[in-house]
């Protein structure tokens, strides 16, 4: 998946949530999407997911313009938001079967058991999602996107509810997706963890793209750009 964003902007009423954002990402890129609260990270993720329409600009996926109605392109986009996007009164298995069927990937139904085993949920496959803890729900979301294999995977604060083993599971999944050529976007405030995984960092501030660089060691430019968002008195070294 090759992702290009040109002059993307989104306004809610008179307020610009995102303004003139452009970048170009080749296949396999893992992007850390950083910035303070209200910077426009979630808005950018929702635009990339096609959940909201841009006020201006365009998103190009593998050379084709991405519009909200484009079903083929939507089938290549995944959005992992821990604890969300799951029906509480359906069982773990029913949720997976439902979404696999919606994504027209019925072949993946045969892999449900194996995937649930990988994320440690096989023994709970017949339980309602409402009975799962937040961490377990996040594991179920990981299982869902493992089965659906999106070309563009968007993650909104994935680390908050996962235990150590869950984080290992998530990161090995994201690395595998990157190796397969997927573009992965991770919006998070767990900077050290997400920087350890990413191949590129993007910083948004007040709706504008203020930093966009491939990862390097040492990374002085990032340290300078990100330093201003740290709590007073704290310093940062990537």
């Amino acid at each position: 998946m090759h992702l290009t964003v040109r002059h993307l902007a989104k306004a809610y009423g008179l307020r610009w949530a995102l303004k003139d954002v452009s970048f170009d990402l080749p296949a396999g890129e893992v992007v850390a999407l950083l910035g303070p609260n209200g910077a426009g990270k979630t808005t950018l993720l929702k635009l990339l997911a096609g959940l909201i329409s841009p006020t201006a600009g365009e998103i190009v996926l593998d050379g084709s313009n991405f519009t909200r109605g484009a079903a083929v392109q939507r089938s290549a986009i995944g959005f992992l938001a821990p604890g969300e996007h799951l029906y509480e009164n359906l069982t773990v298995r029913e949720n997976l079967v439902f979404f696999i069927s919606l994504y027209k990937k019925r072949g993946a139904i045969a892999q449900i058991d194996a995937t649930l085993d990988e994320v440690g949920l096989k023994h709970r496959s017949e339980e309602y999602v409402a009975a799962l803890s937040s961490g377990m729900k996040c594991r179920l979301s990981i299982a869902q996107w493992k089965l659906l294999e999106p070309g563009l995977l968007l993650l909104d604060e994935p680390y908050g509810v996962l235990d150590g083993n869950g984080i290992d599971l998530l990161e090995s999944f994201l690395r595998a997706q990157s190796r397969k050529g997927s573009v992965v976007f991770i919006a998070s405030h767990h900077v050290a963890r997400v920087l350890n995984l990413c191949t590129r960092a993007v910083i948004l501030h007040q709706g504008r793209l203020t930093f966009n660089e491939a990862r390097q060691q040492p990374w002085d430019s990032f340290n300078r750009a990100f330093g201003e968002f740290l709590p007073h008195g704290e310093s940062w070294t990537s």
Partner: protein, 225 residues
Amino acid sequence: MDFLSQIFLLLRKDLLLELRRRESLLTMFFFGTLLLFVFHFSFDLAPERVAEMAPALLWLAFLFTGTLGLAQLFEAERGNHCLEALLLSPMDRGALFLAKTAFNLILMVLVEIVVIPLFWVLFNLRSWDVIPNLFLVTLLGTVGFCVLGTLLSAVTLKARARELLLPLVLFPLMIPVILGTIRCMETILRAGELGEALPWLRLLIGFDVIFLTVGVLIFDWVIEV
């Protein structure tokens, strides 16, 4: 997956959730029955007057009961941001509109199957032979209510006080359906057949077809997270 399979998949999910939660159907059923008892104790009508009043009273009950169902229509999707998950998927959004309309229609028809005979029993009406025709007309009116109601339910999804806003927007737009259904029912109760109510029947069918088509075409623009 073709369009019909998507509708079936979404409808099956909604019916399964309703079977487990039993919120909408039970609430609608008890409210509809309760309204009939209120009408029964409020109006002391002679049988010939009841036949005149029956269509309006029945449709009052269906409107209020149906509005309760509409208020719950997207409830399963509001929790856990499941609507986002549906809109993110490659599903045709017209299929979501039709599945929600069909789900609401099934609930309302189930309520009507109980409410109409109960009305006949409570008001001691003897003309049981007209009930199949009444069901047919009621079904056409209910389709119109569900189509427009689903569309407006999606429009008001993010509005504050949507439970208040929905009937305020819906009821004025429902006037052609309410009028058409009541006139058809009056004719059936008076003459035993549709006869002179055919223009109203055509209006009902036209309303259903137009709003069903419009709903499928514009639902993508109506619904946004």
